[in-house]
């Protein structure tokens, strides 16, 4: 009994000591907010950012907004409430996000945006995004080549609220539009979703059996479209995606999907954390707010080098 009490006391003292010491030793917090991890692209961002944050001695708070601007706003409140020193954000809408990032800024918390831009400058500390237009051009040029500059094709577009869906579509058409013998017979949004792309592709194929190619705004939709084509015994249809996922890599190396465009998601997220760290520790702001990272074409020639949104040498 006596022993127990002493132990309890000791434990209590220990807790007290820890309690008082904690503020001095607790790691600073970095909030990492992205769309749903169901898409491996966003997961790679979150994993990359978290790994870098921990490596630099931070605690990481990983959250998902599911492309819901209201939820994103609540998550920003959470980050502010938890006293985060910086927010790494792949945002839920180019317009809707401006106010949320401003709110964090007003609370003294800098935001480092990755992947998607917002329609304002001077609110976020950094906007590090893939050059989606340049990437879309690469993908479309490869698509045009594979199509032999002619034939009917289908475009699967991403989620409309995501600014990158529009940028990629525009990049595709800026290239494809120069080839009048390429005819777009259907253009539909499958909201970045594999299952939605599968069902959309099924019905598009029924209405347009004479298609020669499908250009997709991302890899998950490309996977869905290819699965539908394969199920209909139409593996001859040329499919090109965008993102550079491991799934599409495996499809390319096994002769399925023909090409994709790699976005350096992992490196991008890590770069954002490094810039956040520089600001937190040295009060050093990034040289430029808007920073573009170039994309790389992935096809049969280099697909084997692709792993988790990075090309190995």
């Amino acid at each position: 009994m006596k022993l127990t009490r002493r132990m309890t006391l000791a434990a209590f003292a220990g807790v007290l000591a820890l309690g008082t010491a904690a503020p001095a030793f607790a790691a600073d917090l970095i909030a990492i907010i992205t769309p749903s991890h169901d898409n491996p692209f966003f997961k790679a961002e979150a994993v990359g950012a978290e790994a870098k944050a921990k490596e630099l001695g931070y605690e990481a708070l990983v959250l998902v907004h599911d492309d819901d601007a209201n939820k994103q706003s609540e998550l920003i409140d959470t980050a502010i409430g938890r006293g985060a020193k910086a927010i790494i954000l792949d945002n839920a809408g180019a317009d809707a996000t401006v106010a949320a990032v401003q709110k964090a800024k007003d609370a003294g918390i800098p935001s480092f945006l990755i992947d998607r831009e917002i329609n304002a400058t001077g609110v976020a500390m950094a906007q590090i995004v893939s050059n989606n237009y340049q990437g879309a051009q690469l993908g479309a040029q490869e698509f045009v080549k594979l199509m032999g500059e002619k034939g009917n094709f289908v475009e699967l577009v991403g989620k409309e609220s995501d600014t990158n869906a529009g940028i990629r579509s525009k990049g595709y058409h800026d290239v494809i539009g120069d080839y009048p013998d390429l005819k777009m017979v259907a253009q539909q949004s499958a909201n970045w979703s594999q299952t939605e792309a599968y069902s959309k592709m099924e019905s598009i194929l029924q209405a347009n059996p004479d298609i020669k190619g499908v250009i997709s705004g991302n890899d998950t939709m490309a996977m869905g479209a290819y699965a539908a084509l394969a199920a209909a015994n139409r593996k001859d249809v040329i499919v090109v995606g965008f993102d550079g996922s491991n799934d599409v890599r495996d499809s390319i190396t096994s002769g399925g999907i023909k090409a994709t465009v790699l976005q350096p998601a992992y490196a991008q997220a890590q770069m954002a954390v490094e810039q956040a760290n520089d600001f937190i520790k040295n009060k050093k702001s990034p040289e430029k707010e808007k920073q573009l990272m170039d994309c790389v074409l992935v096809n049969g020639a280099n697909a084997a080098k692709l792993e988790t949104f990075a090309l190995k040498n």
Partner: protein, 214 residues
Amino acid sequence: MPKKLTWLTLVALVGLSLSACKILPTPSAQDGANASGFNPDKMVEDIWVAKVTPYLQQKAGPFAEVHALAKTDQAAAGAKYGNPKKQANSPWTFAVRVEGKIVAANTQSRAATMDIDVDGDGKADARVQIGPAIRGTALRDSLDFVQFNDFTNQIDFAQFGKAFNAYADKTVLSKLPREALEGRTAKVLGAYTIEGGQNLPLVTPAEAEIGPKP
């Protein structure tokens, strides 16, 4: 044959406006662009003679020199012929003059090109785009007075890049001959972006002349 050529030229001119594609509206971005009265074609037209060609003329080096330096020391080549204010992660784009003999041409593709031998060894050293489809944004990216940060978003920046190509095609490239190019001389002022891989450097012209048939 001449009839077919006229037809091709027509397609080249009309093709830009009569595109087979329909652009999906992206409300936020397009509203932003319209609200600010963003007109990339007009912007390029306004600066082409006053700023773009003078800048390239002053900055450009002979292709052989630029490319040799780029292969050994990209940073040095960038400092001399490149845009020092480029995005840190982007590859260098260099201003160049390409003068030499056309050793091959691909006018079957709408992204037509001609391969130029600049050192007289009979082998192609550079591939020059002659449209009407033009790849990349080398002209835009070669200019130190064009900054991504000055644009609302990637779409505006991209359209601005495309407007350079369209302007070069309209005012220069669409007027070039397309037949029997091999063996003729070519003189080009333009820009190219350094790429990995084995492909010939792809030059986008701002000015181009093709000599008479030999």
